[in-house]
Amino acid sequence: MEKMTSPYRWGMVIDLDRCTGCGACVVACQAENNVALCDKKEISEGRGMQWLRIERFWAGEYPDVRVRFLPVLCQHCHDAPCEPVCPVYASYHNPDGLNGQVYNRCVGTRYCGNNCPYAVRVFNFYPHTWPQPLDSQLSPDITVRSRGVMEKCTFCVQRIRRAKEEARGEERVIRDGEVQPACSQTCPSEALVFGNLADPRSRVSRLSRSPRRFQLLEHLGTHPSVYYLKGGGREHV
């Protein structure tokens, strides 16, 4: 049994000093990944389907109120708690360092959703439809999930896939900045930076070595692939 190796280790850096909480990343993700449209009823029941959420925290008393935004998406943990608990290997770790989700293998036990400490996994409680003409917007590169299946952020694996194919055709590796998930592509303040952490010279690698860095729930030892940056070390969320 050989260990599969890869020249890539995808990761993301989210600079909280740049995030304005505009939510464009959420919309872009929904558009790119055939994420279901949810109405007020679904979301108030706790069954929203967004793969990426902007957490909003208020700090301080009036008139000195500040707001902090924390975009939370699948952290693609290297020791992901969601992976070993899936009874059918629908959730697994691929050699690129991504946490993969195989929709047609998922039987819907929702164990992975329970075990994700970041609560980033969403389950298709409802059968979702896209009223016309929104169904023309669906991307053919990615499945439309049926009800009863778990889903979550994949770092736009379909884009990574396509970039890999192009790179393989040209017999090279993917260049830094060549592939971007929808969220980082859309972010107006470039708060989200995506790239190959295995390449020490890529932008994401350099940012991940910043003294402002921290990770979510580090004490759980999940070793996420997502780093957050927050100013000065005094004002972590």
């Binding site: 039987v107 036990t109 969403v122």
Partner: protein, 454 residues
């Protein structure tokens, strides 16, 4: 037949203990019909869920497990009744076990069968459940044995088979008696199952050794089954679940639940089949003592859990516990009353242990409290996990409640059918005692004594 004392009392015992095998009365048919109706309603609810989607339940993000898994753990716990009561009492050669064995062993089988349905019911895509079964297929796919759910599947399969064989083994000599007393299709059925048993000394000797060995083998299986179900929770990183005490705590809870259920069942069959002479206050006295001991153990385990959480006051874990105590206060209090306060207080008194109505109330209360306990383990932890922005809550929907009630009805139905077809009291076991009992003069009085080695 003969009119010597042995033969008459044996026939009388046979008649009384096998009275449940009489052709069914109208009341029986009504009961079965009612239970079938409740089960059918549960099936309707389940079909509604399968055809519409999991949104018909109360589950959401982050509480992705609710009443179904509560039911699952509850029924697995109940299935420890037979194993613990039957095996342990067999191995310790306690004579008062004899009228209780069969009901306890049958309970085990039916409880674990019902429990095994819940993992299938709670799936988002129930129709793909066979993905979890390890069978060679053309795509070379296998399930993930690192997942605690696969351990569940393996253990529950082993337990279903093991406890069914254990029940069958216990019934073997009784089936021969039933065979000899019946005709028609019943005779064929019992004859087939009795495997030609004649009761020769050789057969009995092998049977005794096999019974003892089976009783010893089934106990580790039972302990491991509930430990594995506990590991479904304990091996996660969910705060409040990740606790090393879970496996022993769950096993203790299961024994508590099971003993209480056996008491309830004993009271019911005593009344239904006029077995007052065989299920005497002595039996309830002893079961009450067992209930007291297990309740003390459970209380100890729960106290230890909460005390260590409170003292260390680790923020996330304490948050889970205080959320539970605040949101579900009446349920928590009922649970503590039913599992700890009432059993310990009441079961200390001989007069109360020997009272059928008190035992019925206490045993039912214990099981209600145990169901609540399972719920309070599962839901509050999921509601308040690590990321406060993603906190949620849960309340069960009519679908989940219906399915759980149908599970109770399904169990009752299986038991009623079983009691009509098979001897519900371990007939030959009870008669064995009668044969060996004699009154012996000792000093100024005569005392009953039981002849035999040890």
């Amino acid at each position: 037949m003969s009119d010597t004392p042995v033969a008459r009392s044996a026939t009388q015992l046979n008649d009384e203990l096998l009275s449940s095998l009489r052709p069914p009365s109208r009341r029986w048919y009504l009961l079965v019909l009612f239970l079938l109706a409740v089960v059918a309603w549960g099936l309707v609810a389940f079909t509604w869920q399968v055809t519409h989607g999991m949104y018909v339940t109360g589950k959401n993000r982050p509480v992705m497990w609710g009443f179904y898994i509560t039911g699952f753990v509850f029924w697995v716990g109940l299935s420890h009744s037979g194993t613990m009561v039957s095996s342990i009492l067999r191995l310790s050669r306690a004579n008062w076990r004899r009228p209780i064995l069969r009901a306890a062993e049958a309970m085990t089988v039916f409880c674990i069968l019902v429990a095994g349905l819940f993992p299938l019911i709670h799936l988002g895509r129930n129709w793909t459940f066979f993905y979890m079964i390890p069978y060679p297929n053309q795509r070379g796919l296998w399930p993930n044995f690192r997942s605690a759910l696969l351990w569940d599947m393996t253990a529950i399969t082993a337990y279903i088979i093991g406890s069914s064989l254990f029940l069958y083994l216990g019934m073997l000599p009784d089936l021969a008696v039933a065979r000899d007393r019946s005709g028609g299709w019943r005779r064929k059925l019992y004859g087939l199952l009795a495997m030609g048993w004649r009761g020769s000394a050789h057969e009995w000797a092998v049977y005794h050794r096999a019974s003892t060995l089976m009783a010893a083998l089934i106990i580790p299986v039972a302990v491991s089954v509930h430990s594995i179900v506990a590991w479904d929770f304990a091996v996660t990183v969910v705060p409040g679940w990740h606790s090393t005490i879970f496996p022993p705590y769950f096993v203790i809870g299961a024994i508590l639940s099971g003993v209480a259920a056996v008491i309830t069942l004993m009271i019911i069959i005593r009344r239904a089949f006029n077995l007052e002479a065989y299920l005497t206050p002595l039996h309830f006295d002893n079961m009450g003592k067992l209930l007291l001991v297990i309740s003390l153990l459970w209380s100890y385990a729960y106290f230890v859990e909460v005390q260590t959480t409170w003292y260390a006051h680790e923020p996330i874990e304490w948050e889970v516990f205080s959320f539970m105590a605040d949101t579900y206060t009446p349920q928590l209090l009922l649970m503590l009353a039913g599992n700890s306060v009432v059993p310990i207080a009441f079961m200390c008194f001989r007069r109360l242990r020997r009272s059928i109505s008190v035992m019925l109330t206490v045993s039912l209360l214990v099981n209600v409290a145990m169901f609540i306990e399972r719920f309070l383990i599962i839901v509050p932890s999921l509601s308040h996990k690590n990321m406060p922005f993603a906190w949620g809550s849960y309340s069960p929907s009519w679908v989940e409640i219906s399915v759980n009630i149908a599970a109770v009805a399904g169990f009752a139905l299986l038991f009623v059918l079983f009691a009509k077809l098979f001897p519900i009291v371990a007939l030959t076991d009870v008669r064995e005692l009668e044969v060996r009992e004699a009154e012996v003069p000792l000093g100024r009085t005569r005392l009953p004594s039981i002849a035999g080695k040890e």
